[in-house]
Amino acid sequence: MPITIEIPTAFRRFTEGAPKIDSGALTVAEALNDLTAKYPSLSRHVRDEQGQIRQFLNVYLNEEDIRFLGGETCPLKDGDRVLLVPSIAGG
């Protein structure tokens, strides 16, 4: 079974409306690369000019922020969910 990348509504205008995609990625970084390879116009919204994940975009592996899992190199296993969530809420 592959992993799933879940896409927030704000990004779906770049994904032809798709709410999620499947991927065979082995790490979070590969998953993000799969996503932006499939939808190139999403690239600059996911990563900044230095290639870092944008400051206002949070990436979760299942329930956990990937920054607590060693960042985007953390490995994936079958059935994992990668979530992209704009980080503009709260306080």
């Binding site: 980080s87 709260g90 306080g91």
Partner: protein, 421 residues
């Protein structure tokens, strides 16, 4: 009058029409409300304030409100207390406490932000409103939401202080307890706002919500006689308030209501949840999120949405950030209560204690004017300090029993005095 406010991206500057949206569709950075300041300059003057009641609505033109808006509750207008004994103890001349622990109606500064958020909720046609909250915001949303006839639903971490849950439930709001910390609650709310047509005040209504915080800053400037302080010490959870006080000061200076001044902004956090303070102290380009573990539950946001802006503001203003351990927070709550008669919640202890620390470090000058922001009431966080105040033994209602007790107390305090050779 034509509407003079609109949304603007805080990073790329792109302008957007008013809508229940909190991030830029181009770069996904947060949106904030901006104004046509030239029109603002014409329609409101400092003198206009003279005839207005002292509450947050006196600054209506600086808030995202529709033309002809009539407020229903007198929110804000809290005291700015000039310190005597706290200042003496630290050897400081001019220190003030801005006391939102007595903000109407729910005893925290969150009453201000909810007020402007609900105006936006009404305008955008939401029937159901809600929030993710560490407690104070839920209280404010519950009180004002139900009072204004909205379906009201608040999301809180399951282990929140029972008092804060009760203080939301009593208004008839629906409480959803989430197994997780605030950051989990917040993520869920972001997904709910994405899927349901609900007005979540600190998610899709966040630009309008955050503007309410400016009134805390406007009041400080006005209460200082239309002058800006040298320093402000602000508690940081999501990191929004500190930036909005700065925005309020900038707007007043821009309109010529106060002399422009380089105010230093100091951020206060609990050591058990200090991502912004840690970023400042270690000089990090980006803060590192943390797993909160502190009694200062209202500041327990490990992944603060406005953290990047707070970090930048503190650095650029020449300020600093500090943090306090849980025992230090309890000591500071007591110090504030004993010296100023203000019972602040745990976040109030954090702010007061951090102010003391910054003065002792010399980062805040003893001759400067400093405002310390107390943003919530100690009655909401009694659990944190209850163990320090065990119940006293009761005595019989007889004078001799009282005299015996007094004698006991005198002996105890005598034995507590240091002995001199």
């Amino acid at each position: 009058m034509k509407e003079i406010h609109y949304l603007r991206c805080r990073e790329c500057g792109k302008k957007f029409a008013n809508a229940p949206c909190s991030f830029c569709e181009e770069c996904f950075a947060p949106l904030e409300v901006s104004y046509d300041y030239e029109t603002l300059r014409r329609v409101v003057h400092r003198e206009s304030m003279r005839d207005r009641a002292f509450n947050m609505w006196r600054y209506s033109e600086f808030l995202p409100l529709p033309d002809g808006f009539v407020p229903s509750l007198p929110i804000g207008g809290t005291p700015l207390v000039k310190s005597r004994r706290f200042a003496e103890r630290l050897g400081v001349k001019n220190i003030y406490f801005k006391n939102d622990a007595v903000c109407f109606p729910t005893l925290s500064f969150k009453d201000r932000v909810v007020a402007t958020a609900l105006v936006a909720a009404r305008r955008f046609g939401f029937d159901t409103i809600g929030c993710s909250s560490t407690g104070n915001l839920a209280n404010a949303v519950a009180a004002q939401g139900t009072q204004q006839g909205f379906e009201t639903c608040v999301f809180v971490p399951a282990d929140l202080e029972p008092v804060k849950i009760l203080n939301s439930a009593v208004y008839g709001a629906r409480i959803i307890r989430i197994n997780g910390n605030y950051d989990h609650v917040n993520r869920l709310c972001t997904q709910i706002a994405d899927k349901f047509r609900w007005g979540l005040v600190n998610v899709n209504l966040r630009p309008y919500y955050a503007e309410g915080s400016k009134t805390h800053g406007f009041e400080i400037a006005e209460q200082l006689g239309w002058e800006l302080p040298d320093n402000v010490v602000v508690p940081m959870a999501g990191g929004s308030l500190i930036g909005k006080i700065a925005k309020a000061f900038c707007e007043l200076a821009h309109l010529g209501w106060v002399e422009p001044k380089q105010v230093k902004f100091f951020g206060a956090q609990a050591t058990g949840c200090s991502p912004i303070a840690d970023g400042v102290k270690r000089g990090l380009p980006r803060f590192q999120p943390q797993k909160p573990n502190t009694i200062a539950r209202s500041l327990a946001i490990g992944n603060p949405a406005d953290g990047p802006f707070a970090l930048r503001l503190i650095r650029e203003s020449g300020g600093w950030a500090e943090d306090l351990s849980d025992p230090e927070i309890i000591d500071a709550i007591k110090l504030l209560a004993e010296t100023e008669g203000i019972f602040g919640e745990t976040a109030g202890g954090v702010t007061a204690g951090v102010a003391a620390k910054l003065i002792e470090q010399g980062r805040i000058g003893r001759d400067e004017t400093t405002v310390v922001c107390i943003t919530g009431n100690g009655l909401k966080t009694t659990d944190a300090i209850a163990a320090d105040f065990p119940a006293q033994e009761a005595i019989e209602p007889r004078l001799e029993a009282f005299e015996a007790l007094l004698e006991q107390h005198l002996q105890r305090s005598a034995s507590a005095q240091p002995t001199h050779a």
